[in-house]
C-alpha cells in the first residue's frame, strides 16, 4: 500500500529541493548565533547549499540525459532534462544573487539571515515549478515562490518605496493567483483530474468550439502571464523593480522569469496542447503588445532599475514569440526560449551587478545619469556594462545574439515573417535605448568621484556573468546541445 505511491526514488528525485530547504532552515538558526559583522556567513552557508544542489542536479543531468524522464509521487512530479535544465538555471541564478547581496545588504543595513533563507525557499518553489506535472503542485510551488518574493521585495522595512512595492506586488500577485486558480478549477472540471497529461487527453476529446475550455485557458494564462510580466499583466514590473532592494530586483528579473516560463511551457506544451491554435493566437497578440510596450516605454525612463524593468518586459516579448513558433510544433521555438533564458539570466545579472556597484553609502546611484563618465572613473565595470548592454541588444558575438538568433530562426521556420520583421525592428529600437546608457557611460563627464562599491562576491558575479555572456556568444555549441536536450521531452 505504502509502496504503491512512493518509490524510494521519489525522495531522491527531490534531494536538491530538500537540500536547499535544509540549508534555509539551518540559516534561520545560524542567524541567531552570528554577530552583526559575521552575517556574511549566512551567505556562505547559502552558497554551500546552492553548491550541493547544483552538484546533485548535474548528477541528475548525467543520469537522465537522452533517457526517459523519471516520474514520481504518483505522477504529479516529473524529473526530466527540461526540469533539470531550468532548475540548474534557477539555482545558479540564486547563487549569483546571494553573491550580489552580501555587500549591498551591508550598505542598506539590512543584513539578516532570513533574507538568504527566503531566497533559498523561493528557489525551492521555483524548482518545483519546473518539475511539477500536476496543477496542485504547480500552484503550491508558484505560491511558495511568490510569497517569498513579496517578503523579499518589502525586505527594507524602513524604506517606503520598498514597502509600497511589496504591497503592490502582493495585492496584484494574490489577485492574479486568484484568476489563475479560477482557471485551474475550470481546467480541473474539464479534465477531471489535476494531472496535466490526463487533462491533455480529455481536452483532445472535447468537441469544438468549446467556450468553457477557452475560459479556463484564458484565466489560467492571465495568471501565468502576470508572473512573466507580459502585457497587459505587466504593470507591477516597473514599480516593483524600482522599489525592491536592487539585489532582489536582480533576482526577480531573472529566476522567477525562468521558473514561470518553465511552468508556462509545461502547461502550454503538455497540459493544453490540444488548444494550441487558440493559445498561439493569444500568445501572438500578447507578445507583440509586450515587445511594443517594453521597448517603447524603456526609452523615456530615467531610473535605471525601472529602465531594466521595461527592458525585461521587452525580452519577455521575444521569449513569447518562441512560444508562438512552438505552437506550430517547431522545436526551435522552445530551444530558443531555453537559450534565450540562459543568456538573459547571465547578461541581466551582470548588468545588475554593475548597477549594485553604483549603490554606495549615502549614494543611491539609481538614476541613469549617475553612470556618467563611468569609463573615466571605473573602466572595468564600464566595459563590462557595455558588453552586457550589447548582449541585451543582441549584437554578436554575445549571448544575447544567440538567443535572438534562435527566436528569429524559429519565426522564419514557421513562416511568421511579419512577426520576424517586427522583432528585428524592435531590436533596432532596443539598440537606441540601451545605447543611451552607453553614451552616458562613455561620452559624458563624471558627476561624482566616489569609488564604486566592490566586494569579492561582486567580482565573482561579474567574472561569471561576463565569461558566460561571451562564451555563449562565441562558442554556443554545448549550450545549444543542452538546450535541445532540455526540450527533447516535449517532442519525443
Amino acid at each position: 500500500m505504502w509502496s504503491a505511491f512512493f518509490q524510494p526514488g521519489d525522495y531522491q528525485a527531490v534531494i536538491p529541493e530538500i537540500l536547499l530547504t535544509m540549508f534555509g532552515l539551518a540559516i534561520l538558526l545560524l542567524d541567531f548565533l552570528l554577530g552583526k559583522r559575521d552575517k556574511y556567513l549566512n551567505a556562505v552557508a547559502a552558497l554551500i547549499g546552492v553548491g550541493f544542489a547544483t552538484i546533485k542536479l548535474v548528477m541528475f543531468w548525467r543520469l537522465l540525459a537522452d533517457r526517459i524522464p523519471y516520474t514520481g509521487f504518483g505522477g504529479i512530479f516529473i524529473l526530466d532534462t527540461f526540469a533539470i535544465f531550468f532548475k540548474l538555471l534557477i539555482v545558479i541564478a540564486t547563487g549569483l544573487v546571494v553573491l550580489l547581496s552580501a555587500k549591498y545588504l551591508e550598505i542598506e543595513d539590512a543584513h539578516y539571515g532570513e533574507y538568504y533563507a527566503l531566497l533559498l525557499f523561493s528557489a525551492v518553489g521555483m524548482m518545483l515549478m519546473a518539475s511539477g506535472r500536476d496543477l496542485i503542485v504547480l500552484f503550491m510551488a508558484l505560491e511558495l515562490m511568490a510569497l517569498c518574493e513579496y517578503i523579499l521585495t518589502g525586505f527594507l522595512r524602513g524604506s517606503r518605496r520598498s514597502n509600497e512595492a511589496a504591497m503592490k506586488f502582493f495585492l496584484l500577485g494574490a489577485f492574479s493567483s486568484g484568476l489563475l486558480l479560477y482557471g485551474m478549477s475550470l481546467l480541473y472540471g474539464i479534465g477531471g483530474s489535476t494531472n496535466l497529461v490526463v487533462i491533455a487527453e480529455r481536452l483532445a476529446g472535447r468537441p469544438s468550439p468549446d467556450p468553457l475550455s477557452w475560459m479556463a485557458m484564458i484565466t489560467l494564462l492571465a495568471g501565468l502571464f502576470f508572473k512573466v510580466a507580459a502585457v497587459p499583466f505587466h504593470q507591477w514590473t516597473p514599480d516593483v523593480y524600482e522599489g525592491a532592494p536592487t539585489s532582489i530586483t536582480a533576482f526577480i528579473s531573472v529566476a522567477p522569469k525562468v521558473a514561470s516560463f518553465a511552468i508556462l511551457m509545461r502547461i502550454l506544451i503538455v497540459g493544453i496542447w490540444p488548444l494550441r491554435a487558440e493559445w498561439q493566437m493569444l500568445t501572438m497578440g500578447v507578445a507583440v503588445a509586450t515587445m511594443t510596450v517594453g521597448n517603447l516605454a524603456a526609452i523615456t525612463q530615467t531610473n535605471i532599475k525601472r529602465f531594466f524593468g521595461y527592458s525585461t518586459i521587452a525580452h519577455v516579448g521575444y521569449l513569447l514569440l518562441g512560444l508562438v513558433a512552438a505552437a506550430d510544433g517547431n522545436s526551435e521555438g522552445l530551444t530558443a526560449i531555453a537559450i534565450y533564458l540562459l543568456a538573459y539570466a547571465f547578461m541581466n545579472l551582470g548588468a545588475f551587478a554593475v548597477v549594485i556597484m553604483m549603490r554606495r553609502k549615502d549614494i543611491i546611484g539609481e538614476e541613469i545619469d549617475d553612470l556618467s563618465g563611468l569609463m573615466q572613473r571605473a573602466p572595468g565595470p564600464a566595459v563590462l556594462m557595455l558588453i552586457f548592454l550589447l548582449s541585451l541588444t543582441g549584437i554578436p558575438p554575445t549571448a544575447g545574439f544567440i538567443g535572438k538568433y534562435f527566436i528569429f530562426l524559429s519565426l522564419i521556420e514557421t513562416r511568421h515573417y511579419v512577426l520576424a520583421v517586427l522583432a528585428v525592428a524592435y531590436a533596432v529600437v532596443a539598440l537606441y535605448y540601451y545605447f543611451r546608457i552607453v553614451v552616458v557611460m562613455f561620452m559624458k563627464k563624471p558627476l561624482d568621484t566616489v569609488p564604486l562599491a566592490t566586494s569579492p562576491g561582486l567580482s565573482v558575479v561579474l567574472g561569471v556573468t561576463l565569461t558566460l555572456t561571451l562564451l555563449i556568444g562565441v562558442y554556443p555549441q554545448p549550450f545549444i546541445v543542452w538546450a535541445r536536450e532540455a526540450i527533447r521531452p516535449f517532442f519525443s
Binding site: 505511491f5 518553489g125 496542485i136 517578503i151 475560459m215
Partner: protein, 169 residues
C-alpha cells in the same frame, strides 16, 4: 425539492453577504459579513458531501483567518477611514467591467453545461468516510504538495514576523 431550496437560499445568502462585505463602510462590519459568506459557502460544501472541507472552512477560516483580520483591523484602526470615501475613482468602470466579465464567464459555463448535466463518471462509491478519503489523498497522492504547504506556512510565518515586528534585533 429540498436540495433546491437549500442551494438557492444558501447561494442567495452567500452572494448577498459577499456584496455586503465589499460595500460596508466599516471594515469590522465587512469581516462580520464575510464570516456569514464563509458559513454559507461551508453550507454549500456540506451539500456537496464535503464534510471535512466544511469543518476546515469553519475552523480555519472563521476561527483563524477572520480573527487575524479582526486583530489587524483593531491594530490599524483609524476612525478617519470610516469617514473617508470608500470607493476609488474608477469604481464605475470597474463595476461595468466586472459585470461583463461575469456575463462572459457565465455564458461560457452555460455553453459548457452539457458536459456536466450528463450522468457523472461512474466512480466507485466511497468505501470510507470523506475525511478518511481526503486523508489518503493528501498523504499519498499529494504528499509533495503537503510538504510544500508546510514550507509555505513557514514562509508565511517568517514573513509576518519580519513585516510586523517593530525592528529586527
Amino acid at each position: 425539492m429540498l436540495p433546491q431550496i437549500a442551494f438557492f437560499s444558501l447561494s442567495a445568502l452567500a452572494l448577498a453577504s459577499a456584496i455586503m462585505v465589499i460595500t460596508r463602510r466599516n471594515a469590522v462590519h465587512s469581516v462580520i459579513w464575510l464570516i456569514v459568506t464563509l458559513f454559507s459557502v461551508a453550507g454549500i460544501f456540506l451539500m456537496l458531501q464535503a464534510e471535512f472541507l466544511f469543518a476546515v472552512q469553519i475552523i480555519l477560516y472563521v476561527g483563524g483567518i477572520m480573527v487575524l483580520f479582526l486583530f489587524v483591523i483593531m491594530l490599524v484602526n483609524l476612525d478617519v477611514l470610516a469617514k473617508q470615501q470608500q470607493f476609488n475613482r474608477q469604481w464605475a468602470l470597474a463595476l461595468v467591467t466586472a459585470v461583463i466579465l461575469l456575463a462572459e464567464l457565465g455564458y461560457g459555463i452555460y455553453q459548457g453545461r452539457s458536459g456536466f448535466t450528463l450522468p457523472p463518471a461512474a466512480a466507485s462509491p466511497p468505501t470510507q468516510g470523506n475525511t478518511q478519503t481526503i486523508a489518503m489523498a493528501l498523504y499519498q497522492n499529494y504528499m509533495l504538495p503537503v510538504e510544500i504547504a508546510s514550507l509555505l506556512l513557514l514562509v508565511a510565518m517568517i514573513g509576518a514576523v519580519i513585516m510586523a515586528k517593530r525592528k529586527l534585533e
